[in-house]
């Protein structure tokens, strides 16, 4: 792998080069990839001219994996090995899946019901992370082929209401697919960026995003390129799939009415009927009635007619279910209906007339539908990816997003102590002091939860760790400070520290039932061929890319702001750059990574000085030397 070329420190930086970055909308039903080409955000198509890639993965008898339309076409014939809507299972355990009976997959029962769920396919056990990684790989290849170069990175969108476990699972999937994740971006925020920039919109807007499997509502204030999320809410298990499902259940009831000897459907018939239900739903968007005709595997002929009126009645509760999060978001943002300048509809499911009517009735205004609801999220992600890698020269685009769910800790009696309330602007950190319960207590168990309920049992448990070695003291004398930090991806890390002794425990929250580092390594291995050599080559390649990136970043910083530090400090950093350059030519990944750490360490003071200087510049010359970060 070639290293990035860097001009000599002090000389002018390398000429502005367009870096290849993509935005990916990893959807429940369909996925897309987009990029910014000559200042225009564009969705990339496959060789057949399709923009949408059905989020369906089929494991073939010959060991190959087929993704997209070809997989979707075989769904009814090979349901157990053809997985659709894997996003619904991301970061989830078996006990989270409410209606397994209606899902035609072989879920694997594990002794531990809280463990990440797995599906049995002919290619062996597959997690939703691996299945999603196949979709991401397909999109990555499409982008590389179309753009003709190596990608710097990708912005991947997630439902705003995804919790920490679901976000982490998405990041793991990207890693398996070999993608450098620039940022996880909330889908409604991505949509707002695409809509807002396209229409030069200013004011307060609502994004109502009903996708295949998830529902989000976000309220944003748009002003001069700043997109500030005021509140977000949603339901990460509600979407267009549920509307299909209501039709499916209605058809089953119809069959039961007419035939007393009706037996439960097999996997193939279930998938077939679900597909017919989806087609009927889409047909009813512009027609008054839909005919559902199919023959089941036992020869039974199904021929029923569903009217639009009946469909509205069947799905009324689902539509109402979206309004409750909407009201909550409005209340959290402290806004009246009159404050809303526009309501943007996103997600294929918002094509349904009953959904549009409900939104119109609630907000008392006609929703905005002048963007393709299927593409707007991917386009927004591409715009953000382009900005993040520094391709936009006049950079005034800034996204200020929030955490969707409150984060807290378990205290005595199974109660939740909230540390970070929902709708806090990211990044955010909050600390809380706790004390011991018994005399001489030397350890403390810390359970991290996410959710709005008061009882730990009703929230999602994210992690569990122990702080040991607290000096024995009387009950209530120790001061244990627990700090939560949520980064710009919405991912949490927690550290705990006993104040008097300075004993520290730090965890980056990996959900209790998430993938372990070993599992990821194992999956990476099996997906890149089992040879140890491959793993080594990959590690070396990754280390060299990282080395190139940091040398580039630091050299550029020195060229711009080298005057902020003394000649001696500058010299130290330059020496470390040179050392890393030399090390990067060797085949020793460990040594390269060590040299990267050393260079990073050497630039800490410089980084702080640059940060202070840029903030001072922002506030016209105000001196902020007093910031001690």
């Amino acid at each position: 792998m070639a290293l990035l070329q860097i001009s000599e420190p002090g000389m002018s930086a390398a000429p502005h080069q367009h870096k290849l970055a993509i935005g990916i909308d990893l959807g429940t039903t369909n996925s897309l990839v987009a990029t910014v080409k000559s200042a225009m955000a564009t969705v990339l198509q496959d060789e057949h001219g399709h923009a949408l890639l059905p989020s369906v993965v089929r494991y073939m008898p010959d060991g190959k994996v087929v993704v997209g339309h070809d997989a979707q076409a075989q769904q009814s014939n090979d349901p157990v090995n053809t997985i659709a809507s894997a996003k619904r299972f991301m970061g989830r355990s078996l006990k989270d899946i409410a209606d397994r009976a209606h899902i035609p997959y072989n879920f694997v029962d594990s002794a531990d019901a809280t463990k990440l769920l797995q599906l049995q396919t002919r290619a062996g056990l597959k997690t939703p992370v691996e299945i999603s990684a196949e979709i991401l790989k397909t999109l990555k290849m499409r982008a590389e082929k179309s753009l003709g170069g190596e990608l710097v990175g990708a912005v991947i969108t997630v439902p705003a209401y995804f919790d920490d476990a679901q976000r982490q699972a998405t990041k793991d999937a990207a890693r398996l697919a070999g993608l450098n994740v620039l940022r996880l971006l909330n889908e409604p925020t991505a949509a707002a960026v695409a809509y807002g920039l396209d229409n030069a919109a200013e004011g307060t807007f609502v994004i109502y995003d009903l996708g295949g499997g998830t529902f989000d509502v976000s309220i944003l204030k748009l002003s001069k390129g700043v997109f500030e999320v005021l509140a977000t809410n949603g339901d990460s298990a509600l979407g267009g799939d549920d509307f299909d499902h209501r039709i499916y259940c209605w058809v089953l009831d119809k069959i039961r009415e007419s035939s007393s000897s009706f037996k439960p459907l097999g996997e193939e018939d279930t998938r077939l009927l679900l597909t017919k239900a989806r087609q009927a739903k889409e047909w009813l968007t512009v027609n008054h009635e839909a005919q559902i005709v199919c023959r089941l595997s036992d020869g039974t002929l199904i021929d029923v007619t569903l009217t639009a009126t009946k469909f509205v009645e069947l799905t009324q509760q689902l539509v109402i279910k979206t309004l409750s999060p909407t009201r909550k978001a409005m209340r959290d943002a402290n806004l009246a209906l009159a404050d809303i300048k526009g309501v943007v509809l996103v997600g294929g499911a918002t094509r349904m007339p009953q959904v549009r009517h409900a939104v119109e009735e609630y907000f008392q205004q006609t929703p905005l539908t002048n963007l393709d609801p299927d593409k707007v999220v991917a386009l927004g992600a591409a715009i953000q990816a382009n900005a993040l890698v520094g391709n936009r020269s006049d950079d005034n685009l800034l996204l200020l997003d929030v955490t969707p769910l409150s984060l807290g800790l378990e205290t005595m009696g199974g109660l939740v102590e909230k540390i970070i309330p929902r709708n806090s602007t990211l990044p955010v950190a909050r600390a809380q002091d706790f004390t011991t319960y018994k005399d001489g207590q030397t350890a403390m168990s810390i359970q991290v939860v996410q959710g709005e309920r008061e009882l730990v049992a009703d929230c999602r448990s994210l992690a569990h760790f122990e702080l040991r070695g607290i000096p024995p003291m009387a009950a209530g004398a120790a001061r244990i400070r627990v700090t939560f930090q949520v980064d710009a991806d919405g991912l949490l890390s927690v550290s705990a520290r006993e104040q008097s002794s300075g004993i520290e425990a730090h965890v980056v929250v990996k959900p209790s039932y998430g993938l372990t580092e070993d599992e990821i390594t194992h999956m990476l291995k099996s997906s890149f061929g089992s040879a140890e050599v491959d793993k080594k080559a990959r590690m070396l390649a990754e280390a060299r890319v990282s080395a190139g990136a940091i040398i580039g970043a630091v050299s550029l910083a020195l060229a711009r702001d080298g005057n902020l530090i003394s000649a001696k400090e500058k010299h130290t950093i330059e020496a470390e750059i040179q050392r890393l350059q030399t090390t990067a030519k060797t085949d020793d990944a460990t040594a390269i990574n060590k040299a990267i750490d050393t260079l990073n360490h050497a630039t800490e003071a410089f980084a702080a000085a640059r940060m202070n200087a840029s903030v001072s510049r922002a506030l016209s010359g105000k001196n902020l030397d007093s910031i001690n970060l």
Binding site: V226, V389, L399, T425, D487, T603, V615, A618, L619, I627
Partner: protein
């Protein structure tokens, strides 16, 4: 306290700040410090960026909210408005609080959202009047004793409002 939030946002240390200036300076700082600006930077710069952006968010939250802002101004004067040992309140305010709490309980029992929203607007009127008196007490008269009392009332009012919001949400669920 390592950094004065007023210095960070380039504002005079008063209660009656221009909210527009606060917002625009907050956005300027985020434009420079937000982690989105440092995606391709070194790990050291990424960390500094996250720390400064986190600090700016926290500072903005404090200065934006009147009760928090008054409490913060008093802290700059070395006065702790609310502490575990000092919870005394004037009798008339306590009576009023009890009245509000009773109305809150009644509305919850009756699942009456309209009554809760009415209560909310009634309390907001009281909050507004406390805010006006804080402008006088903190910025003009510098009467920190009276300002402390008013600030504590405002903080209690915030708590009642939060409870009302929670009640509305629970009824809606």
């Amino acid at each position: 306290m390592s950094l004065n939030y007023y210095v960070l946002f380039d504002l005079d240390p008063i209660f009656n700040i221009e909210l527009e200036t606060l917002e625009s300076n907050y956005r300027k700082i985020q434009s420079e410090s937000h982690p989105d600006r440092f995606v391709t930077a070194s790990a050291a710069e990424k960390l500094k960026s996250m720390q400064l952006a986190t600090l700016a968010n926290e500072a903005y939250l404090i200065l934006k909210n009147p009760a928090n802002r008054a409490k913060y101004l008093l802290e700059l004067q070395g006065i702790t408005a609310i502490s575990e040992t000092n919870t005394a309140m004037p009798t008339d305010f306590l009576m009023q609080q009890m009245e509000w709490r009773e109305m809150l309980e009644d509305a919850i029992t009756a699942k009456n959202i309209a009554a809760l929203e009415n209560l909310l607007s009634e309390i907001q009127i009281e909050a507004k009047s406390l805010q006006s008196s804080l402008v006088k007490l903190l910025d003009e008269e510098k009467d920190y004793v009276a300002a402390t009392a008013a600030t504590r009332k405002l903080i209690f009012i915030d708590k009642v409002c939060a409870d009302i919001h929670r009640a509305i949400e629970q009824i809606e669920n």
